[in-house]
């Protein structure tokens, strides 16, 4: 293993890691001072040249997104996406709790670049510790003139507000987030217009993830070369790949010996992550399936574990993408029918309900799997599941947002890669012992 110095996790876990004092003593807010001496266009260009791509799931180039704002916009908002609800994902929480100032600093730098005077952090309600850490950090920044009027004597004003969600996954989708912040049901909007043109309160808005904004701080601090010294250049075979640079917070959970959040250069393989960092699969077993980047991304088989976890890797073996780089490991004693049921039930529960294919499709897939798990499945249910999955999502063009693509992908991967689990279960007619099947309530 080459040695690698964590940057995003550098202070996390150390005494008083969340305090402004600790942060400043460690060089904190010098990146903001530097940025404030640059023009907004120069800051944007720096982030663009570093090749930073969004960490929230879609991997969109951050600097490029910032240039989509109308040049003559008078009011621009930054909506910080801290809804982190994709099953398997917890890296935003780790840095919000343990080192919130690197995020506030990134927010302030981004706001300078996009000429924004008000940022809202949309935080999922369940993150009480993150809420308190961020609240304290924001208060301390106001007291130290790092937020508020004329920050650091730059002539720039900036307000940052914390806004707590109310337990709905769909608030992580950027336009669902915007609707929710406006006080409405979190129904994602039809795009275009994209938020950069018409977003929060009908004004041009940039939505960025917590980890993305933390990366912005370190790019300004350490420079473009530092960021590009890690990761994977664009794949010449894929003209749409913009490369995967920088450090990444990989989450590992499920059947491993050492679940946790590991900071590594982009592009580590799933196998190295699991074996060299997460202590290997538990109980001396083998991995049967590995979710590469949050539930929505599908599954890697044991044979596919040498896939690099960069923006381009998982797609090459039929997964939806890198997503949030949250790895969930399923051991070889687990049946994929039960795993898939857990996934389908999640998306059915979290569908916002405004698109019929998504609302009905996710509910039907869950019901079919329930039937199979109750020993009443028929072999033709397998193709029925695939048919439903193939019909829902932005990719087939039947829905407004990507939740349904994320619901469909695990179904397609599970059936295409583990078909015998489904056939054997149906033929045996056995009943699952999963407790939640009996408890009901979804």
């Amino acid at each position: 293993m080459p040695t690698f110095e964590p940057v995003l996790l550098r202070r996390v876990g150390k005494p008083n890691s969340a305090s402004l004092e600790t942060y400043r003593a460690d060089g904190g807010y010098r990146a903001l001072e530097k940025a404030l001496r640059m023009t907004p266009a120069e800051v944007t260009e720096t982030v663009k040249s570093a090749g930073l791509r969004g960490r929230g799931g879609a991997g969109f180039p951050t600097g490029l997104k910032w240039t989509f704002l109308p040049k003559d916009a008078t009011t621009v908002y930054l909506a910080v996406n801290a809804d982190e609800s994709e099953p398997g994902t917890f890296n935003n929480r780790i840095i919000m709790e343990g080192d919130p100032h690197q995020i506030i600093e990134g927010i302030a730098i981004a706001c300078h670049a996009i000429k924004c005077g008000t940022a809202y952090i949309y935080l999922r309600y369940e993150f009480g510790r993150s809420y308190r850490a961020l609240k304290q950090a924001i208060e301390d920044c106001y007291a130290a003139n790092l937020l508020g009027k004329n920050i650091l004597g730059s002539g720039k004003d900036l307000d940052v507000y914390l806004h707590r969600g109310a337990g709905a996954y769909i608030c992580g989708e950027e336009t669902g987030l915007i609707e929710s912040l406006e006080g409405k049901r979190a129904w994602p909007r039809i795009k275009p217009p994209f938020p950069a043109i018409e977003g929060l309160f009908r004004k041009p808005t940039i939505v960025n993830n917590i980890e993305t904004l933390a990366c912005v701080t370190h790019i300004l601090d350490r420079g473009i070369e530092w960021f590009k010294s890690m990761g994977v250049p664009p794949d010449p075979a894929n003209p749409r790949d913009a490369g995967s640079y920088g450090p990444k917070l990989y989450c590992v959970s499920g059947h491993v010996n050492k679940p946790g959040c590991y900071e590594l250069p982009m592009g580590i393989t799933a196998r190295a992550l699991i074996d060299d960092y997460a202590g290997g699969v538990w109980k001396g077993r083998k991995a049967k399936a590995v979710v590469p980047g949050g539930m929505s991304m599908g599954f890697l088989t044991e044979k596919e574990l040498d896939t690099p976890l960069d923006f381009n890797g998982p797609g090459k073996v039929g997964c939806l993408g890198l997503g949030t780089a949250a790895v969930m490991v399923v051991d070889d004693q687990t049946n994929m029918v039960e795993v898939l049921y857990n996934s389908c039930r999640f998306y059915s529960h979290e569908s916002c309900g405004q698109c019929t294919p998504c609302r009905e499709g996710t509910a039907w897939m869950t019901k079919i799997l329930e039937r199979i798990l109750d020993g009443r499945g028929q072999l033709r249910d397998i193709d029925l599941l695939l048919e439903v999955a193939n019909g829902i999502g932005i990719i087939p063009g039947t829905t407004i947002c990507g939740l349904s693509d994320g619901a469909a992908w695990p179904v397609k991967n599970a059936i295409n890669k583990y078909r015998s689990d489904f056939e054997d279960w149906i033929k045996s007619g056995r009943k699952s012992t999963l407790v939640s099947l009996k408890m009901g309530g979804h």
């Binding site: 806004h163 006080g183 857990n342 407790v435």
Partner: protein, 159 residues
């Protein structure tokens, strides 16, 4: 006489300067009310609507979208416990923890104890999968639980 206490009204009003529209205060207002009353009664909806210059139906529409808020028939207990049922927790015994807690306290997911001490629910991924199985107690997450350690957390709750 208003239904909401003066303290609650002031808390809601204090949110207004943060946003360019009054409607954006809907979720913060609902949170303030449910924190104290453990549910959101119709009278509260009407008064929130009045403060925010909305129709009560608009506030109700938002409230009902988020399964988080409860009406008076399903009032929360003093503490809200949510056991995660998503994949990483399921793989490490989360379902069993929830089932055993239900059995021990004679509850179904969603129910509140007769003494009103706590409500027990399931949750989807709590964003703490490194500590699966986990349980949220109000807004603090307890990690790497067994039925025993979860019961200890419950016994220590204030009633």
């Amino acid at each position: 006489m208003s239904f909401l206490s003066e303290d609650l009204r002031q808390k809601i009003i204090a949110e207004l300067p943060k946003y360019p529209t009054k409607r954006a205060v809907t979720l913060p207002a609902l949170h303030h009310v449910q924190d104290v009353l453990r549910c959101v009664p119709l009278e509260a909806i009407k008064e929130i609507a009045e403060i925010l210059e909305l129709h009560p139906a608009e506030v109700h529409d938002t409230m009902s979208f988020y399964g988080f808020f409860r009406d008076p028939e399903h009032k929360l207990g003093k503490n809200r416990l949510q056991v995660c049922r998503s994949l990483s927790c399921m793989l490490r015994g989360g379902e069993e923890v929830l089932a055993e807690l239900c059995q021990k306290y004679h509850l179904q997911p969603g129910d509140t104890t007769p003494d009103g001490k706590f409500t027990l629910e399931f949750a989807e991924c709590l964003g703490a999968c490194e500590g699966a199985p986990c349980m949220l107690v109000n807004d603090e997450c307890y990690l790497s639980l067994t039925t025993e350690t979860a019961s200890e957390v419950i016994e220590k709750l204030g009633s």
